[in-house]
Amino acid sequence: LAKNNKENKMSNLVEEYFEAHSSSKVLTSDRTLQKLRKRRLSQQTLHDLLKKAPLAYAAEIKELNQQHESLFSKWMLQLHLGFNIVLYGLGSKRDLLEKFRTSVLQDSVHLVVNGYFPSITVRSILNSITEEVLEHIGTFRSPLDQLEFIIKRFKEDSSLELYVVIHNLDSQMLRGERSQQILAQLSSLPSIHLIASIDHINAPLMWDQAKLSLYNWLWYETTTFSPYVEETSYENSLLVQQSGSLALSSLTHVLHSLTLNARGIFRLLAQYQLENKDNPSYPGLSFQDFYQQCREAFLVNSDLTLRAQLTEFRDHKLIRTKRGADGVEYLLIPVDDSTLTDFLEKEDEDV
């Protein structure tokens, strides 16, 4: 009966999947954040606001953490016996690992890797091992060579011991096949002890059999419920002002420093783009058309000046060029329409 139940459950699950993905049409309301008339919060104000909000269930969370902390000595034993430890569960495990580091690893050589940091690479991890732990100066041709060197050194010198603490082993930068391979090989060394945390639900997909056996994981569930403060601070959320794409303030700043004609050129392009915003197949304004229009508005006098101007725009990431199917260059402003509308309104006010 139990088996039957299970099968039923399985088929239900499968049906649910197809149900979720069957209709390409999605029924959601068309409301957008823009219409909410709410300014987008910047990273800083968000941080300040969150500070004001009290953390719920602090006492219980503390109790949970204490439970996990009682495992520290066991972890040490297991690390010494050649296992590596991976922590999973809801909540940031950063503080827990940090505590582990300060309370247990204080006296031994250890390396902390902040996986959530967006510019971390395997090479930088390897570099910090070779430069700071092994005190070797010199460069390597490839990470593989570097790895080989490290392995050789650790095998020669049995007194060397290194603890590596990796926060978020499954982060964007480290989840690649090659970096995982290198980390797995590192962790398979008997004198390197690895303790890492994962958060993503599909994190175990990173490892195949070979890597798993290199890692030699022991899994520990450490659900902490503590907020991912550091980890999400780099995550470009939808609701936070994004530094990557152009914001309104930076747009106006750049344009204010330009000549009147240049501003006119940009306006022309912006207006044209807004006129076509409902057309999903709008490729952008082709250079020839744009030149024609600018000439008609007496904004440029030659092909060359327009090109020079566009290069300047491109340097400031105000426009993007795209080559169409017919080989013609099309010009686009990589800013969302609402920002552009705001910009034009503001320009009109100024003028």
Binding site: R31, L46, L49, L50, K74, G89, I201, Q209, S213, D336
Partner: protein
């Protein structure tokens, strides 16, 4: 340190065993490598099975054997080191040089020369490797070949092992084969492919033009299941190791092996973990050692440890079965307790010895029965015996019934096997059983002789039958025959057979008592399967799901208690956001989501917030929402979508 000793002992045993099991297979290959000398590149394809993790050991021992017996030149190439032909050549060169050094390390001058070679090679290779790659590496290797082959009078082949054939890029492999086939006359190469799937892969990876350059011979390695059964045989079913696995733990380990990875290495890892866990968590595990040591340690037990022993459930059972004066003595005086413990430990030890031989004996019987009611492998039998009183199960019943129908020759061979087992076991109690079994055997031999006689009789009677054509006589003899047949219902043989089976049955009942019923079994048996499952076979997604769905599981706050399905509005933010997102389809509108969230949260704070600060509260809620959503994004439940403005796409489906 006991653990380390144990670990080491165990590991040595395992390694030697694995070597052994491979050696036969290796001998075949090595012999073959010796033999090969032809125009094409001789290639050995080793079909190794999907348990990639165990192959390392195989290859290591293989290369050792080859190095000792045939040729000093071995390169082990792995796919991850060779993304291009250039890396492959470099790696190959480096390894060949190293091999050379290893072998010649006794002769100093050679060493210097070779290392110089190496330096020069790597330097030049650094400068303009690309133009001269083929020429230089080949000439280099070839020269080396010549210099050294003058010493090794017969031309030893250079063996190149491709560890993981499947993960090599086709192009690299093809190029290498083509290049090396050009130089096969000067450089006798032998390739060995390690194949995890099936030999078909060679043909799908290499086009005909390339594979025709190879002369492939196929070798099959032992299946990992056989490895497992031998390992279980050597590790668990011996009395050499005092540490034992409980039934559930063993079941978990075997399940992981059979249903997940087929990896012997992982099985060993699990076993290691069991040892660590046992010695870490069980305070009485100090007594888990050889009997002589254990007795010494019992004498030096502290009072606290004695108390621990008294707390053991199995010991309590034991105490309760004693007379009252004895009970008092056991519970109060430590010295008396120690005496008893020594005796009990001895009992336990004897029990193990007997158990193993009787188990093997039973296995001999059951493994030949049709349909294998108690399992084909000894591990299944072992599990069944550990789990329950085996004679109470239906399977045991049916197997006994089947055993009662065995024919004589089978029965005799089985009995002989049993005798062998008992003779080889050291338990002294089996003298009697051995005698008994031998008696059975002799009886059988007698029976055989009698049977011959009987046959003679019947033959003669038949002759008589043919002789006498008289109708009356014929009728009479036929009647007699019929009569005798009816009375022969139970021949001597059949009687004896019943006797044997019953005897085996009694053996089983005496010696195969499950370990749980023994006193002090906690000391040597590790039986917390949940620990093992948690740490080896974890399910991060389930943990996340329960934490998000039912935070009360972790945070023991009364406010969070709720019946499943509904959203408790006092739950942590991320749980509320998660529950709301579960109600959506494939795409989620952020605005609606935010509004739903603020409604839920406001329901809590509503009464005590005044209108003036509502804007402030709104902002805070907005911020909390942002935090929760970005946390969900980090966890991989949603991702930003470009399909519609201000929407996110759900990456999971259904209720989880």
């Amino acid at each position: 340190q006991i653990q380390e000793d144990l670990n080491k002992q165990l590991f040595d045993n395992l390694l030697s065993f694995l070597r052994q099991s491979h050696s036969e297979f290796q001998e075949k290959t090595t012999e073959w490598t010796c033999r090969m000398k032809s125009r094409e590149i001789p290639t050995a394809a080793l079909v190794l099975g999907v348990n990639v993790t165990d192959h390392d050991l195989t290859f290591r021992s293989l290369s050792e054997v080859i190095q000792n017996n045939i040729s000093p030149y071995i390169a082990l190439l792995e796919a991850k080191d060779c993304p291009g032909i250039k890396n492959l050549m470099q790696k190959l060169m480096g390894q060949l040089m190293n091999c050379h050094i290893d072998v010649d390390s006794l002769e100093d001058e050679d060493y210097v020369q070779v290392s110089q070679n190496r330096v020069r090679c790597s330097m030049t290779s650094l400068i303009n490797w690309y133009e001269t790659v083929t020429k230089k590496t080949d000439s280099e290797t070839l020269r080396k070949k010549r210099t050294s082959s003058s010493r090794h009078c017969q031309y030893p082949p250079v063996v190149v092992i491709f560890k993981d054939m499947e993960s090599f890029t086709t192009k690299v492999l093809q190029d290498f084969i083509v290049i090396s086939s050009q130089h096969i006359h000067e450089l006798p190469l032998v390739l060995i492919f390690g194949i995890a799937t099936s030999p078909m892969i060679i043909h799908s990876l290499l086009p005909h033009s390339v594979s025709s350059l190879l002369c492939i011979e196929l070798f099959q390695s032992l299946s990992s299941k056989e490895h497992l059964s031998t390992i279980i045989d050597k590790l668990l079913l011996t009395d050499r190791f005092p540490f034992k696995l409980g039934e559930k733990v063993l079941q978990v380990l075997i399940n992981i092996f059979l249903y997940h990875d087929f990896s012997v290495q992982n099985f060993i890892k699990g076993f290691q973990l069991c040892i660590v866990e046992h010695f870490y968590s069980q305070p009485l595990s100090v007594l888990c050692c050889q009997l002589v040591d254990a007795k010494k340690r019992v004498n030096s037990l502290s009072h606290n440890q004695c108390e621990n022993i008294r707390k053991l459930p199995s010991f309590r059972r034991y105490v309760e079965s004693q007379v009252s004066e004895k009970q008092i003595a056991l519970l109060t005086t430590d010295s008396y307790l120690k005496e008893i413990i020594q005796k009990l430990l001895e009992d336990l030890h004897v029990y193990h010895e007997n158990y193993i031989s009787v188990l093997r004996c039973l296995h001999v019987f059951t493994s030949s029965l049709p349909k294998y009611p108690l399992g084909k492998q000894i591990r299944e039998l072992h599990c069944a015996c550990l789990e329950n009183q085996v004679w109470e199960t239906e399977e045991y019943e049916s197997s006994l019934q089947l055993a009662r129908m065995l024919n004589k020759s089978e029965l005799v061979t089985m009995l002989q096997q049993c005798v062998e087992i008992f003779v080889s076991s050291f338990g002294k109690e089996f003298d009697k059983t051995v005698e008994k079994l031998k008696e059975f055997l002799t009886q059988f031999q007698k029976l055989e002789a009698e049977a011959f006689q009987e046959q003679d009789v019947s033959v003669s009677s038949q002759k008589e039958l043919q002789k006498k054509t008289d109708l009356y006589h014929l009728q009479k003899t036929l009647l007699e025959l019929k009569e005798s047949r009816r009375s022969k219902k139970l021949t001597k043989f059949e009687m004896l057979r019943f006797e044997v089976v019953d005897y085996i049955d009694s053996l089983v009942r005496n010696y195969l008592v499950p370990a749980d019923h023994k006193t002090l079994h906690e000391i040597v048996y590790f039986n917390t399967a949940s620990v093992l499952r948690e740490h080896l076979n974890a399910a991060p997604r389930i943990a996340l799901h329960t934490a998000l769905n039912n935070p009360y599981w972790y945070l023991k706050n009364q406010a969070l208690k709720c019946d499943g399905g509904s959203i408790s509005n006092k739950a942590p933010d991320i749980c509320i956001v998660y529950k709301l997102h579960l109600e959506c389809g494939r795409l989620i509108n952020l605005v609606d989501w935010l509004e739903a969230f603020s409604t839920v949260v406001m329901a809590v704070e509503g009464p005590n917030s005044d209108a003036a600060s509502s804007d402030q509260v709104d902002d805070i809620i907005h911020a909390r929402f942002i935090r929760a959503v970005s946390e969900l994004e980090l966890l991989g439940f949603i991702k930003p979508s470009k399909q519609k403005t201000d929407h996110v796409a759900r990456l999971t489906w259904g209720g989880c």
